[in-house]
Symmetry: D2
Subunit: 167 residues, 4 copies
Amino acid sequence: MHFVLDLFVCGAQPRHRCWGSHVPDPFVKKLIQQSQEAKQAAYCPYSKFRVGAALLTLDDCVITGCNVENACYNLGICAERNAISKAVSQGYRSFKAIAIASDLEEQFISPCGGCRQFIREFGSKWDVYLSKPDGSYLKMSVDELLPVSFGPEDLSMKKVLAIPHEA
Amino acid sequence: MHFVLDLFVCGAQPRHRCWGSHVPDPFVKKLIQQSQEAKQAAYCPYSKFRVGAALLTLDDCVITGCNVENACYNLGICAERNAISKAVSQGYRSFKAIAIASDLEEQFISPCGGCRQFIREFGSKWDVYLSKPDGSYLKMSVDELLPVSFGPEDLSMKKVLAIPHEA
Amino acid sequence: MHFVLDLFVCGAQPRHRCWGSHVPDPFVKKLIQQSQEAKQAAYCPYSKFRVGAALLTLDDCVITGCNVENACYNLGICAERNAISKAVSQGYRSFKAIAIASDLEEQFISPCGGCRQFIREFGSKWDVYLSKPDGSYLKMSVDELLPVSFGPEDLSMKKVLAIPHEA
Amino acid sequence: MHFVLDLFVCGAQPRHRCWGSHVPDPFVKKLIQQSQEAKQAAYCPYSKFRVGAALLTLDDCVITGCNVENACYNLGICAERNAISKAVSQGYRSFKAIAIASDLEEQFISPCGGCRQFIREFGSKWDVYLSKPDGSYLKMSVDELLPVSFGPEDLSMKKVLAIPHEA
Ligand SMILES: [Zn+2]
Ligand SMILES: [Zn+2]
Ligand SMILES: [Zn+2]
Ligand SMILES: [Zn+2]
């Protein structure tokens, strides 16, 4: 199982090792572990609710995020959105999976609806791992988490611009 | 079908007429029509994508909303969130259904993930009507649109506060 | 001072009584009082921090809002954005003033940055009244609260679309 | 001026070189340049409006961000919030300056109100550099950009919890 160690927080030269859409179980465990570590950086003085996320890019880089709250609660950023926007800022736009971790012992932490939409922007066929602190997890696809969704494709089929109206 | 006309945009004294969770079809049609009318107030100079929502409260008031965009795109408000926050500001917190309308001819307009979470805050058992301009619709429950969600109940079961950590 | 009573929560036919940009003091007091009343509808189980807003339209309607929080803190809506999006959904886009109220005894409650931008979308020359529970207030213009801002006008002067790049 | 080159995108071991709150001009130029480079990763298929940000931590690391938009416009993330949440996820919470870049030739790009509040969460005394593509800039403090703001300190002085009310 030494190859698990090959999964690394993303640096200069990600190595390419393609699984298609299947992430082997040891890698999932490692990804969840990294989401748990990411949780430790959470800035959550208001909710005290730490969340971490670990995003696996198409070329097997792992990019992590945590929640960052704000005195105006409504302006905070979730761990999942943090990880994805960080990845995009590093040039990534294709992802295989994202793992999410919190301190809730009794339930698998699931992404909020806002994050589901943010995740879905980059495809509806990849995997989301909802985890518990003990490392157990539930795997769901983006489609399962956000059924009947709309995304970038739908806006291009938009006939709206042709419709006369004042905005 | 005269009773359809009884459904009205909420004024001072809503009348109570309880259906449990079932909204009769003529009322659904009326609700969708009101979401279409609400769409006309949309402020969407950036996307040109008008959306309207009509929210049916437990006591059969209808409260409508439209999208309100911002030069900083990220700060805009969707029609659904507009309708719900408006309803809350008027003292409502229990809802039966929400209908959504857009100008997309070819697809049922569905709420974004952020709105699904906002809707879910007020219960996961009520109905969302995704519509087309011709009035046809798809009925889904909040649970179907946002499976494996978390809400107010989950935060009360939170053991997080007991966990020692610096935020 | 009987004319203070003429200021009313907006119904079907707002009366027109134009002050230009000057709102007489008794009207300010009334507007602040309405923001305090609006505060009572706040849905804020997470912060316990109630906020109310009362928006004065160009034709002297008052439209109120309160904060509406979410289990995903980041998805909540502030009182000011609630009031404005509600007003837009009712056909208003021109405003004279907005008053804000909270339960903080010792300081004038000011709008968060997100709300300042949302307010600024509808002009930078109108007035914001930051109040205390005792009714005392601080008057600031949108420009003072959000200096060096950008708004709808700036996007139209945008040369960006002409610049070749892949988004 | 060789020391300009010492400013680097943050890796494993940031070096400590303290300026107090003063950032020397060559470093400012370098910071702005990095915000311009960050802009190139922007995901902005909807606005076509690329924005980059470069954040200087207290120990002279530079962390960059770009805007990441969403088909639901309201759920996107600005460059500034991206850079800061990324920095927090890497363990940083103290910053000296942030530079912002866009493609607008004719005006200094300023942060939206939401970002000003997000920036202010981490102090009101640090510097924001609004830049043009030619590298010219305007320096403003957080306080100047968001006067009369509230932040983490204010919530601790909150008497609100003591006030009886139902949320
Ligand atoms: Zn989220
Ligand atoms: Zn939405
Ligand atoms: Zn606000
Ligand atoms: Zn911003």
